[in-house]
Symmetry: C2
Subunit: 253 residues, 2 copies
Amino acid sequence: MTEYNDPAVRYYQEVFDQCIHYLSIDGVIFGFHQNQLKVLLLRWKGTDAWSLPGGFIRKAESVDVAAQRIMQERTGLDALYLQQFHVFGEAVRYDQEATWRKINLPVDGAKWSERTISLGYYALVEHSKVIPTPDFLTEVCAWWSLDDVPALLFDHNHIIAVALLSLRKDFNDQPLNHLLPDTFTIPELQRLHETILGLSLDGRNFYKKVMASGQLERLSERRAGTPHKAPFLYRFKPSEPTNRLPTLEAKTA
Amino acid sequence: MTEYNDPAVRYYQEVFDQCIHYLSIDGVIFGFHQNQLKVLLLRWKGTDAWSLPGGFIRKAESVDVAAQRIMQERTGLDALYLQQFHVFGEAVRYDQEATWRKINLPVDGAKWSERTISLGYYALVEHSKVIPTPDFLTEVCAWWSLDDVPALLFDHNHIIAVALLSLRKDFNDQPLNHLLPDTFTIPELQRLHETILGLSLDGRNFYKKVMASGQLERLSERRAGTPHKAPFLYRFKPSEPTNRLPTLEAKTA
């Protein structure tokens, strides 16, 4: 049984012993960079196969704590802004045998779990603060623009699609400042809104609405390195605890 | 070990053998009756302790299918309108030993599961079509107005509170017709909106908005047995697949 010397199989044995069976957590970690909404993906060792970050819940661990632990390990960030968004509980979510072959795991090692129900969480993080960190099953952890995400392992393309729909649905309840650096320009803020909503917004209306919300303050600095007239930098007023912007109606530009 | 003759303990042994460990489903079944939003509750045999309906997921069963099965058994309704709304995953959700004593289960029978993570679903049902049916652990299945719900077993008061918040948040995406009989009056529809939102709405604005949505049609009949001028009956137009009403802004009457 040489395959049981495989560290991955030993890991799954450990999970079997210490974690809740049949349940996993998958994380869609959203970041905003270069005017694009991005997600953090992992490439599995010795393959060109990518997946979302994920993990398992220890037997006496709160589900939310497990999600924090898993996302922290991949980002280096404490106290991430996390949101449960869906339970992926189909009896057969994907072809398990074919998937395990792709990532070079011995297929009979998969027997420990006939199925996994996944609890989907999304995180909103500030791109520049993340230190993408693979786990010991993977060798690359990297940002992918949502438009370029390749065909992923498991049902992870589906999970991302549902996460994005949930983020859109929750849009007006989400503290978007988690996705932004401390200072930003109004066009950058507008692009973030447009990217999440999948819509074009009218620039002048957008400016009026976000300024009318009273939650932003203009700094005296402007964005450096901008070719044309440099736009001013803004930040969320520190006194506003939620940093939420008002409901925005979409207007095609 | 006479306690293992207890049918409840035998049931939990069966659950242990056939279902996914550590996971349960709890259902908040919402109905609308006599201008009140109500939930379906169960009274446990030989006690005055009430809980939500719930159950477990078979090892090869989809989570959504399990939820349908569980809610169908308590309501007699097929193909209920169900919505996942939250995973209750705290490491300690309630005092398990005290709870099991309240419902006369031998406490060491609880050892099969040190904890349960609950997947919360809410259902929107038409009150008049439901046949409330207890399971073999309970002896009464009955509607309770949300305002009168007693202190429940487990963390079920908390689960109802989160379900109601979720229903409010999802309000404009929900097909409310599931909560209504085929025909209804505008004041009844308004009361349903007010009850879910926990707000008073201005009657004239409400009427204008719902009529402007174009989704309702007035019948020639009026509500019988109304003391004053009998209001007309309406129904959702059969041609509208979603039967969703437009976003309503709250106005205190």
